[in-house]
Symmetry: C2
Subunit: 339 residues, 2 copies
């Protein structure tokens, strides 16, 4: 089968690799319909994380081709969506809703889903089948549910977005944009998007943003304070992962408010004294996407949300290198790879 | 009147100062029955915060002697307890339960309550009257409600202590010990106290601790994991304010669990990547004690809790310097000053 391998920073190739096989009786093998490139894939691409002949990709939708002898919840022929963490969905941590920390978790990035086929460990706990075979136009949205929508949703939940709340969103990438969509679905009254890109501003508004702030850092914080009687937002989503973004999020939040952070933190250090005086709640990390998947799949199936709009470039798997380049150079927000 | 003044690090004196007067129509003047020395008073005492002829103290109970023309909720002769932040209790932030961040807040430490009398700004929003004149043996517990009990309570609430939960408490000072009492009152199933002092271990158990861990740092974390099926505690209280204590708290918490931190952070920096991978909630800061005061006063009045036991040294106000010395040298956990 064809699979994406990152040989080193900036060096992405699509190669012939062996087809996956069932290893554990809880495994399933899927034939992918689509996969995509994640913002976090850019960290090794840019040399900010080590990489050496690494298979890539952790987002996937597709059709079940084979199941292990212990698999009960999905069957051959099902169209399925799964999270970037395989999880048993039965351990105490999963039952508490934190499947990204399942005691048996497997990071799908170590398996690599930018490929024609993939082995999915813990298939019963990981995969969610759609009600039937989806229309082709639903594939991008179901693809988004696998990570960026689930992550944006978790960020909005962690930020306690809800009725009567003002939500601010730091980061206008796919996750930030879908955090806006999630906040709107969760009933937020007002949604302030930080963005200085015209096309992303337009999508932010389409997803539910009521206000756009182009300023960043402390100037951006001042604008949020202006818009909230000097108090700050109730809920702030941090979807970047830099020191500036984290501090912008904390400082934009009112005392007692909530920061939901899902940007993969690089060289971030939160000063304890400032956090102490801020009086905000902070929660984040790798999203427990599996918790939200049944609800998200249904919302997409019923055409109540259209998160697939974050994909602004679609390429066949064999042209993955172009997709990485486009995201690195920010000519694309999020790249879908068809298989 | 007599009042404590810290001339410089290690230099505490009790001096004759002018009696306070009503300044704003929302003020009250109280004659103190007791005051006390806070762990946070040791930071300037030890030179870790600047100090120059500063009035000291922010905890207080006493009898109202005079009220401004706008005061409605308390009257002359009432016995009252208040928080270390004066708050209007009507602004949007107060109404959300974060009175320590009231838009009109006044830090009582700038007024100084280690004194015979004190001006209390925003008396209606700040003071809570007891049902009558308290028996003398209730004074230490009511005194504790003003800060250490309210702070320990907030820490337990921030850590989401409750039925079925395992709570770990980092710090065996007065706040940590009262965090244990609070966790027990909130229904926690199991309470792990980090402590290596025999007398504090005994009080921890009396307040509700079910397990004592003497190890600190990563060894202490390993012990908590051993006690919780390898998962970590659901709820962890951080009541110290150092880097080691904060990391011990975060690492003792299971994914999806909650850290409530009330130690005044000094030179603490939380690594973003570790916080991201930990998946815990963090919330803390100066406690909104006023939110809990009515409930805490009633619990004390009904003799359901006895937080006054944290005071292990009682001195008259004029011997305040001895009290600072005892707390600095850790021969006393918490010093009550009678007025």
């Amino acid at each position: 089968m064809r699979q994406v391998v990152m040989h080193g920073p900036g060096n992405v190739r699509v190669e012939d690799r062996e087809d996956p096989n069932i290893v554990e009786p809880t495994d399933a093998i899927i034939r992918l319909s689509a996969t995509c490139i994640c913002g976090s894939d850019l960290w090794p691409y840019r040399g900010a994380e080590p990489v050496d002949h690494q298979v890539m990709g952790h987002e996937y939708v597709g059709v079940v081709e084979e199941v292990g002898s212990d698999v009960r919840n999905v069957k051959v022929g099902d169209f399925v969506v799964g999270s970037f963490w395989a999880s048993d969905n039965t351990c105490e941590i999963c039952q508490a809703g934190y499947q990204a920390y399942c005691v048996h978790r497997v990071l799908m990035g170590t398996i690599g889903t930018q490929s024609e086929r993939a082995r999915i460990p813990l298939a019963d706990g990981t995969l969610v089948a759609t009600p039937g075979m989806p229309d082709p136009d639903l594939i991008p949205s179901l693809m988004a549910a696998s990570d960026v929508l689930g992550t944006g949703w978790f960020a909005a939940v962690a930020a306690e977005a809800g009725p009567g709340k003002t939500v601010a969103v730091v980061g206008d990438g796919a996750v930030g944009l879908l955090g806006i969509l999630a906040a709107r679905q969760l009933g937020a009254e007002r949604i302030i998007a930080f963005s200085r890109h015209t096309d992303r501003q337009a999508l932010a508004k389409e997803f539910g943003a009521t206000d756009i702030v182009e300023e960043r850092g402390d100037d951006g914080v001042a604008r949020v304070k202006d818009l909230t009687d000097g108090l700050g937002a109730h809920s702030v989503i941090e979807a970047v992962g830099t020191q500036e973004a984290m501090m912008q999020a904390i400082r934009s939040t009112r005392p007692g408010g909530h920061v939901g952070f899902v940007g993969v933190s690089h060289d971030v250090a939160i000063p304890g004294d400032e956090l102490f005086m801020a009086g905000v709640h902070i929660h984040g990390g790798p999203a427990p996407v599996r918790q939200y998947l049944p609800e998200l799949v249904q919302l997409i199936w019923d055409r109540k949300i259209d998160p697939g709009k974050v994909f602004d470039l679609t390429l066949p798997l064999d042209r993955a290198a172009e997709g990485y380049r486009a995201m690195d150079q920010r000519t694309a927000t999020k790249v879908l790879l068809t298989v």
